[in-house]
């Protein structure tokens, strides 16, 4: 098992990855779910570069969504849920921006968004769903007609049809496939030949990466290919789907990266206080995003003791007894 370096041309910094793959107007799928495995180091860099008019496609997203929205990077959003569980039943900057009409929003459900990514991954143009019949989720379009049918926006939100295999009695909604320009992912491990291993819940990350044109992965560590190849059942994505690999320790902070660290309740509460308040929000952005010189500086700001507190028990996957109030 030669350790052929298959990362040649893929290994890069956060700055390089964002500069190369994320453009104004790109359609971006964001990995993770609310407070778990959000690709935050990439998100901060996107915000720092003042990328504009992103078209985000997400199921349930929390921290990544809220920072991107709050930094003014988002022009269109297809989404099922914008919240952070008990830290933010509705994401704060997301809520304000929608109420102020700052960008276009199209609502779907978690199952619908996941199936749409699955359709993209399978290479089919749509997929049927039994969710949302008779609800406003299917009846109300959030995107206006003038943006539809181009730039990666489906011409219709959904298409109702009778089941042709059931004498037309059963109703289903066809949902358009998603094929984002870029999928951003934070994973625990990438091997020296570019194989990705995600540990814990995978959410819709695999479908998103298979549906996307480009896949950018940040990871906690690079490990020998021979190590991941000993247990291929546990691996998540093959090298040929991965375009950029960026090692960033704590790259999902303040969200969790199971088996490495828990979410950071102190930071999420600090975030909450700032994001709720229009005056405090620019201060937070300056202090934690724009004004941060390097990832080392970011980790120093979080602090060694706090990183120690949130360190995951490597068997349980989270930090038992962590004060989460």
């Amino acid at each position: 098992m030669a350790e052929r370096n298959g990362l040649e041309g893929k290994l890069m910094t956060v700055e390089q990855a964002v500069a190369r793959f994320v453009r104004d107007g790109s359609q971006i799928a964001v990995g993770g779910f609310t407070i778990n495995r959000n690709p935050m180091a990439l998100v901060y860099e996107i915000a720092r570069r003042r990328v504009r008019d992103l078209h985000l496609v997400v199921h349930s997203n929390g921290q990544a969504l809220d920072v991107l929205v709050g930094a003014g990077c988002v022009g269109r959003l297809e989404i099922a849920y914008g919240g952070n569980g008990r830290f933010a039943p509705t994401c704060f900057r997301f809520r304000k921006a929608v109420e102020r009409g700052e960008f276009l929003v199209e609502d779907y459900t978690n199952n619908q968004m996941t199936l749409r990514f699955l359709a993209g991954a399978l290479g089919v143009p749509f997929i049927p769903s039994k969710s949302g019949l008779g609800t406003d989720v299917l009846a109300r379009e959030g995107f206006p007609p003038d943006v539809r049918g181009r730039d990666g926006v489906a011409p219709h939100k959904a298409h109702l049809m009778a089941d042709p295999f059931d004498h037309g009695e059963d109703q289903v909604a066809l949902l358009p496939a998603l094929t984002p320009d870029v999928a951003l992912l934070h994973a625990q491990q990438v091997s020296t030949d570019g194989t990705v291993r995600i540990r814990g819940l995978t959410f819709a990350d695999l479908e998103q990466c298979k549906a996307a044109t480009t896949v950018v992965v940040t990871c906690e560590e690079i490990v020998p290919a021979s190590f991941l190849k000993l247990e291929p059942d546990r691996n998540s994505l093959p090298p040929f789907l991965v375009d950029a690999v960026v090692p960033v320790t704590y790259g999902a902070h303040p969200t969790a990266c199971p088996y490495f660290y828990d979410y950071d309740p102190a930071h999420l509460n600090l975030y909450k206080a700032a994001a709720k308040d229009d005056d405090q929000w620019p201060v937070y952005l300056e202090e934690w995003v724009y004004g941060v010189e390097s990832w080392d500086a970011y980790l120093d700001k979080v602090g060694g003791a706090q990183l120690a507190r949130i360190r995951a028990n490597t068997v349980a996957g989270y930090a038992p007894g962590l004060d989460r109030r």
Binding site: F33, T34, I35, N36, H59, S60, I79, A80, Y81, G82, G83, N84, G85, R86, F87, P89, T90, F94, R95, V98, E99, G101, D107, T109, N110, N111, Q112, T114, K130, S131, G132, L133, G134, T135, D136, V137, A139, R140, D170, Q171, V172, G200, L201, T202, F203, A204, D205, L206, E207, A256, P258, Y263, A312, A316, G317, Y318, P320, G321, R324, R325
Partner: protein
């Protein structure tokens, strides 16, 4: 109301002659009342908050073979600590298996399983339809909420669902601002005609009472008020005319139910407050 926990001052709605029942909060009553809807062997689609308490208490008391799972893909976790979100790493620890959303929703929809979901919302109407998207006009909302998440999916696909709500006229409304999660739609057979093969709301558990749905019209009615709560109080807090015919009084929590809830399930009082 449950945010400023209310002590139940009178639990004598039952005629039980046992030692005087312990005091408890409305939130504790909610968790325990909802847990009583769970049958052994049910497969439970859990959210966080009171829903998780209900599921966990039920599993530890009368439904030991119930299985709890999360839409994020955490199937049958041990739940040594309460999760703060459905994506909390605590929903995966020592689980039966860890998967993703495709897998989780395939269990919600699985026709051979009796899947029961626990849901909440900003608004509910008399047919148990719910809104968790916006207040005001959808295109120009005055208040934006999180959106469906998996709520619409669970309302569409599960065998049934149980709703947790704080009782109030702005939450129990004549007309939703946006229909996120399908209940009985316009009542009667309308849910079936829309294309659903099963499911629908079974009960609404509030800080005041348990509401259910009439078999024929599918309209909401007051099934049981909690001890110490009057029918008038419930009616006054409901934004549509509520059918209260035949309403009873809920059995208060037993000492055992409370002990498990407080000592085993939420000792840090993350949700109980």
């Amino acid at each position: 109301m449950a945010d400023t926990p209310e002590r139940a001052t009178d639990a004598s709605g039952t005629t039980d002659a046992a030692p005087s029942p312990p005091a408890y909060t409305a939130r504790e009553m909610m968790a325990i009342a909802a847990g009583r809807f769970i049958a052994d062997g049910d497969v439970l689609f859990a959210g966080t908050g009171v829903a998780m308490l209900a599921a966990t208490v039920a599993k530890r008391i009368h439904a030991p073979h119930a299985h709890i799972f999360f839409e994020t893909g955490g199937i049958g976790p041990q739940l040594d600590e309460l999760p703060m979100a459905v994506a909390d790493p605590r929903v995966m620890a020592y689980a039966d298996l860890n998967a993703g959303l495709v897998e989780a929703f395939s269990y919600v929809a699985n026709r051979r399983l009796h899947t029961i979901a626990f849901l909440g919302a900003a608004q509910i109407d008399r047919y148990g339809n719910m809104n968790s998207t916006v207040i005001g006009d959808y295109d120009h909302p005055t208040v934006r909420f999180s959106g469906s998440g998996g709520a619409c999916d669970a309302g569409s696909l599960a065998s049934g669902f149980i709703v947790f709500m704080q009782h109030g006229t702005r939450k129990f409304v004549e007309k939703l601002d946006y229909l996120t999660t399908p209940g009985w739609l316009e009542g009667g057979e309308s849910r079936r005609h829309a294309g659903y093969r099963r499911g629908g709301p079974l009960a609404v558990v509030t800080n005041l009472c348990v509401l259910r749905f009439r078999k024929d019209t599918k309209a909401m009615y007051l099934a049981e008020r909690f001890p110490g709560v009057t029918v008038e109080e419930i009616v006054a807090n409901t934004g549509f005319v509520l059918d209260v015919e035949g309403a009873g009084v809920a059995k208060p929590p037993t000492a055992e139910e409370l002990r498990i809830l407080r000592d085993d399930v939420d000792p840090q009082r993350l949700i109980l407050g």
